[in-house]
């Protein structure tokens, strides 16, 4: 060990302060670091972009407030893209806390694009059951969701006249933070009903779903804040995710530095200890 200096003696709160500063400064003074678009995000964007106006797509919002920083930007970016392309959107939730979050994303976009509820979009709200609900939608969406989020019978909603089951939906975008979520949609909807499925997930969950992209079971995947920022870039509306990417990059660089620094100090101290041990024996 380099005498008088022990890496373990460094107060961990110094690292917390450095991380805090590394996040705060880029948020206050954005640097505009470039955001490259990865193939899974591009393929999802292309699939949505290729749909003709009027096509019905589905958004599955399955997350809760704790994963909002990562997933809410994805929901907003996808809805913006869909409304911009004049796609009609049917929204379902398998998580009970999701509907208000989806409403928060919808409200400003509906005003911005002048969309009409029940004609251009519908929020069917939450339904318990997880995979069973997905299975039910494969047979009958109206049977599985007899009422929308506001309690209106789906038979009174014009858009739902054209949606019988999942085969009437051109594409499903599943934004999920866990279970039930992307895996259940792949297992129940893709495998059984050949649904075209795209997904946005938290960064923690993303590595589990890349094999589905390679196998073609997912047409694209947005992984964490980076995925959301890439989609925002493609849609041409940089928002919260894009703003956060400068901080993300700086913190990653800082963590890489910490890892390298820790390893260098470890090996140097190990060698110093070995040299000191050799001297004491001689």
């Amino acid at each position: 060990m380099a005498r008088g200096f022990n890496i373990r003696s460094i107060d961990r709160r110094i690292i917390f302060v450095l991380i805090f500063v590394a996040v705060a400064i880029p948020l206050i003074k954005p640097m505009g670091l470039p955001i490259g678009v990865s193939p899974p995000v591009q393929s999802l964007y292309d699939a949505v972009d290729a749909l003709p106006p009027g096509t019905i797509v589905m958004l599955g919002g399955d997350y809760s407030p704790d994963s909002m920083p990562e997933l809410q930007p994805m929901t907003i970016a996808f809805l913006r893209h869909a409304f911009k392309k004049d796609l009609r959107v049917v929204i379902t939730c398998l998580w009970p806390a999701s509907p208000p979050l989806i409403e928060a994303a919808l409200t400003p976009l509906v005003e911005e694009f002048g969309k009409e509820y029940g004609v251009d979009y519908v929020n069917l709200g939450y339904m318990t059951g997880g995979p069973v609900t997905i299975l039910g939608m494969g047979n009958s969406i109206t049977g599985t969701f007899p009422r929308d989020y506001y309690g209106t019978p789906v038979g009174e909603i014009p858009l739902m006249d054209e949606v019988s089951n999942l085969s009437d939906v051109a594409l499903v975008m599943e934004v999920s933070a866990g279970t039930p979520g992307t895996r259940e949609w792949v297992q129940q909807a893709v495998s059984r009903f050949d649904v075209r499925l795209g997904s946005g997930t938290t960064a923690v969950g993303a590595p589990n779903f890349y094999p589905y992209v390679s196998s073609g079971q997912l047409i694209g995947l947005l992984g964490g804040l980076k995925g959301a920022a890439e989609y925002e870039t493609l849609v041409g509306a940089p928002a919260d995710a894009t703003k956060g990417m400068d901080a993300q990059s700086i913190v990653h660089a800082l963590i890489v530095f910490f890892i390298l620094f820790g390893n260098v100090v470890y090996f140097v101290s190990k060698r110093s200890a070995a040299v000191a041990d050799g001297r004491s024996r001689s």
């Binding site: 709160r13 917390f16 297992q187 495998s191 804040l225 980076k226 901080a247 913190v251």
Partner: protein, 227 residues
């Protein structure tokens, strides 16, 4: 509007409820982050508050989204004109069975409800899992190297196949990991290390994203120093 005025009253058009909500959220966020310095009463207060409110919140959400509409209203629609869904009485009975585990003499009945849940989910998930995570993944692994896309793509796809085989051999314990088997197992370890590294990297990104989310809330919604 001056910054100080905006700090206390919110942006123009902001309701009092939103201003109060933002202040409460900001102060509780600071209470939680104060744990990074050291354990303290502010952190303990915020933690206890979170646990209590969280439990109540989920109870209310589940009651209003599940129990009330799916059971109570379905069985007793009142004057709404909706038909009585009498068959919902069976899941209702199973739900009561679940609660009977608190009574030792009748706790065995809770196993019926559990057996129903386990059996149903096993049946629903089994075929979906077998198709999505087994058949499709094996098929994709076997066919991906042949999908074209140039020499580099072929090499990368082939490396994925090598990785799958090597990792499977690493987890094959009926033969000692020596010779060719040992080499394959070591290659498998390398692939596993890369997978763990990628997973750790994504986890770091996720956690940093949450911090960015909170910081954005503090700096934008509370302090109004960023747009």
């Amino acid at each position: 509007m001056s910054w100080l005025q905006e700090f206390f009253t919110g942006a123009p058009g902001t309701t009092t409820a939103v201003v109060w909500g933002t202040w409460v959220g900001a102060l509780l966020t600071l209470c939680i982050y104060s744990f990074l310095y050291k354990d303290n009463p502010f952190y303990k207060f915020a933690e206890s508050l979170f646990v209590g409110i969280g439990a109540a919140y989920w109870l209310a959400i589940l009651y209003h989204n599940t129990l009330k509409p799916k059971l109570f209203v379905a069985l007793f629609p009142g004057d709404s004109g909706e038909p009585v869904l009498w068959y919902r009485v069976f899941p209702g009975i199973l739900a009561i069975f679940m609660l009977l585990r608190f009574f030792p003499k009748l706790s065995w009945l809770s196993r019926w409800a559990l057996a129903f849940i386990v059996g149903m989910y096993a049946a629903v998930n089994l075929t979906g899992f077998a198709q999505a995570d087994f058949v499709e993944q094996i098929y994709a692994t076997m066919t991906t190297p042949l999908t074209g896309g140039g020499v580099l793509s072929f090499i990368l796809n082939l490396s994925a196949v090598v990785g799958v085989v090597a990792v499977l051999l690493y987890f094959f314990f009926s033969k000692e990991h020596k010779g060719a088997m040992g080499v394959a197992a070591k290659i498998g370890i390398l692939y596993l290390m890369v997978a763990f590294g990628a997973s750790f990297g994504y986890t770091v990104m996720g956690r940093v994203s949450l911090l960015i989310g909170r910081m954005t809330f503090l700096l934008r919604d509370w302090l109004h120093v960023i747009d």
